[in-house]
Symmetry: C2
Subunit: 653 residues, 2 copies
Amino acid sequence: MSMTIDAQDRTGRPAQPVAPVVPTVGAVRPLGIERIRIDDGFWGARQRLNQESIIPHLEYWEERAGWLKNFDAVVDGTVADVRTGQKFADSEIYKTLEAMAWEIARSGDAGLQTRFDRIVARVAAAQKPDGYLNTRFGNAGQPPRYSDLEWGHELYCFGHLIQAAVARLRTGHRDQLVDVAIKAADHVCEVFGPDGLQRVCGHPEIETALVELSRVTGDERYLRQARVFLDRRGHGTLGDIEFGRSYFQDDVPIRDNEVLRGHAVRALYLTAGAIDAGIEEHDVRYVDLLRAQYDRTLARRTYITGGMGSHHQDEAFGDDFELPPDRAYCETCAGVASVMVAWRLLLATGDLRYGDVIERTLYNVIAASPSDSGRAFFYTNPLQQRVAAAAAPADELSLRAQSQLRAPWFEVSCCPPNVARTFAQLASYVATQNATGVQIIQYMTGDIRAELDVGVVELRMTTGYPDDGVVTIDVDSAPDAPWTLTLRIPEWAESAVVTVDDAEVPVVGARCTIPMTGSGHRIVLHLPMEPRIMEPDPRIDSVRGTVAVARGPLVMCVESVDLPVGVDLESVRIDAAGALASTRSGVEASGRLVGYEDAMWPYRSVADEASRPAVPESEPFRLPLVPYHTWANRGPSTMRVWIPRSHTGRPAA
Amino acid sequence: MSMTIDAQDRTGRPAQPVAPVVPTVGAVRPLGIERIRIDDGFWGARQRLNQESIIPHLEYWEERAGWLKNFDAVVDGTVADVRTGQKFADSEIYKTLEAMAWEIARSGDAGLQTRFDRIVARVAAAQKPDGYLNTRFGNAGQPPRYSDLEWGHELYCFGHLIQAAVARLRTGHRDQLVDVAIKAADHVCEVFGPDGLQRVCGHPEIETALVELSRVTGDERYLRQARVFLDRRGHGTLGDIEFGRSYFQDDVPIRDNEVLRGHAVRALYLTAGAIDAGIEEHDVRYVDLLRAQYDRTLARRTYITGGMGSHHQDEAFGDDFELPPDRAYCETCAGVASVMVAWRLLLATGDLRYGDVIERTLYNVIAASPSDSGRAFFYTNPLQQRVAAAAAPADELSLRAQSQLRAPWFEVSCCPPNVARTFAQLASYVATQNATGVQIIQYMTGDIRAELDVGVVELRMTTGYPDDGVVTIDVDSAPDAPWTLTLRIPEWAESAVVTVDDAEVPVVGARCTIPMTGSGHRIVLHLPMEPRIMEPDPRIDSVRGTVAVARGPLVMCVESVDLPVGVDLESVRIDAAGALASTRSGVEASGRLVGYEDAMWPYRSVADEASRPAVPESEPFRLPLVPYHTWANRGPSTMRVWIPRSHTGRPAA
């Protein structure tokens, strides 16, 4: 399917939606967080956690780790001596500011506004008169500006600064942060323009930020600069490195690429920016090409959780079907970035399958990151843990991004603020509109208001999803003229039922579109929440002979803390044809145990296979599974998403 | 079985064998390269390649990359400005000197001796009066000595310097290199002694070097210093790092460890040094404990090739049974290090199973590294390649240690000189002796001479192994008094037959011990060379449902260059119960092809499995396999050692 560009929308609307992504054209439009409010349930709780715990935790650690003080040290001239943190530490402050900006708009928290202003003042003080702003380069005693574009992250930091400013503009504030970001953006256009430095940044991010700034300010110079960066990329202006230039997507021009590769977050941020630019340039072919790259990535390089990135070493995509569960990197930030791309494609094309991707990733990657307390985070999200990890220190900066238990803060701490900004802007992903209707993308409890051409629609959505599959939508207000309500039917929900005022309507494929008139109606979506046994494509070598369990949008896992005492998770098999039952905490499957022979050498000839007894399996036992996103919340444990199939319970091949 | 310490041997023999490892006690003793000569066949060709190509190639690149010039730059005071290479670049020079030392003794190459002396003079000139010698630390404008023990590799470099000097002493030279190394060793004892700096080196190596220096000089101070380093290790004297202190084995004392972990080469070098020290201290329990650690590593953390190291990121062992074929690191140096450990255990215990490990590793890891030309090398040795690599530049330093095609030189170039020193000293691993007999460990064509208590034995061994399995041993000279000839029977050779003067003798287990008297006898060993289908332990998740093919000591692989045009290796299945045949180039198995359905999402519910047709497989076709060590010698290709089993050809489970 090609992207439909709805040129009508170019005429401009009086007020832009309060949303993180606002394309001027697209099949559907975001409603934004002013028109959608989540007020309870799975995501409501996480938005409260974000306000009460996660954002204050970010502020605390950014101060404690010295990353905010780096800005003060630029002002007092000591930064070369006292600076702490990675090269890109500034960006964590900016992402936190972005999270705060959305959260201020969402909750109207006045205290948060005060804290925000204080941070902005410290950042602003460090900006140079020409707009340059960085605590790691260009100050006395530091390496010169743009002297390490491969690893220096200067433009990446500017990108996050600009995204924070875009959040402020979209939420109705033209403040000091906006001035700082526009000055920085102007500086970038000056230095890296068509006749300027012929380089790109090792970490994409500036591209999407510049297009968004162009959208919100109407200044097309920023869009043109994004295009300059996009077209310059892939021509080897960055130096070669151990991982190859594919690591930062500087080996092949974007247009010549087939599937996302290299560092996952970089590849996804770049794709988001390229889609943004393509949309604003009305380049349907370009957006289609990016969509095909992302679709191939979903088909061949994505974990069942929605996670992306198969390598720890370079935080990169693997080859097609190289998806090891134990060494899954699935960086939380790559989950955020995949949602960014999927959301842009959904807006551009109206294809609700991207809503499936967003749902999968929200529930099984992004929700997995924060602990129940909101004060510790997963950086990576592997699908198997063979050895229970040592507990991460509860109050120390972790040197290990790959911490197997959630850690309060990391030497590389990109993920916690990325979770925070996503949670704060989450309502924006719940629904979209076009001229004639509303599309419900995610099922949550809350209110939705849309201004259609025929009038205002107000909806109240109530659900216990994903614990149960009943979603009730009450049309509190709507015009008498015809409009449509579209529901996303998740790919796994083969037997979904929709009723309108108790009358069943047909459901076909990924969407259920209901012609509506007037208010007072009740639409109920019944999603089948029976647990499912899932099998992988046979080309995924690392999970051959295994299955996973899912329930609704949730991928389940076995955790050793739920096994009978003395049972090793590595000896557990699952009856793929056995009964499954939902329980309070998850799912119960039929498990069996196998015994192993220990040998000096773990390989043997199969010559005598026929004469050898099959590995004996126990009688079935009740095997409890819990949602993957909850794993390790009860302390160190071993864990598996993919469980070897029992031979006893297996039908003959 | 416990190590047997043969205390008799402590009385000392007039001449130490010319060998890389000469313990003063042990179940068996090395014969050394003066008493064993390989003159043809698989390994004879590689020793010639080493002399004619590999060693000159090392000299060329170490000069071209500037690593040798670093020593000159220390002398002229410019090193802080002009130094090139990694922190440990000095060690490559020392390993090359060690290779040259053994090669000079093996071949008597006078030109090589001259080249050796020239390099030694340049190295020696850079030594400080107090014995310190390093081109990266401690010179004007450089960081101070021992200011970065985590990553600085200073003691590691000294270790290789000392090993080169030990090679010179064992081959009968007390020259300038020996003086330099002893001065350096004395400096190390001074600085890091019991009352000195309470630190260890991030990369073990000094330990085995000091014990060997102690053995060859008789100076027990070096042994005591090795013990100081061994006992100090595991107490966190090194700083914490991203990978944790287990990376350099500084988290847990050696005695408290269960299985090797962390960086594979570091873990194995440390184990080699600890065994060396334990042997010299007659600490049977300590050596037994190290043996148990290594045995567990073989049983749970070793690839079918003998390769070790499952992670690219930290070049480290994985958890038990975490042995992904595609991301197998299997660094060539880890193969060398594993041979070092296995050889020490074989000498200590007389257990010929360690000869199996050495054989497996020599044929499937170390022999895999150099190209046919001897001018390009594998650094890592993965067991699967899904995408054909771009050809490595033929004449450029590779930034990528993980180059998927052999590269002429690496930014980190530890492996090529490690291969060279192993090839040059290879004869030493062919046979051992004790007071009453000779043990043949590896089967090669050449001559063996042993001085037993009852007299001199001279053997001529002739074989086409591993192409064929017939090994003929002619006893050219032997005393009339009784002695024994022991043959290692490889673990895979279940139906081996041994004849003495055409009369069959019984073969039981890992060894065949033949009572001998007098000369003129002919012993023939017939090893079964029929190809075998091998299956992995079911706990190795990443290769579940696959089998591998082996023939004799060679692990085989499928390379895409051998498949019919248009056939994708990923669609190949193997009949595990099908016929196998040896061919000129390897083995032919029965393959089948499967077709795949491409889908938008590579996971699906198994609910309808029973009603779904099984994935169709083609009629069988002849599937050619070649020895793993030859892979990629015919250009870029995809490759698999572990091949998914055909369902058609599979017996019911």
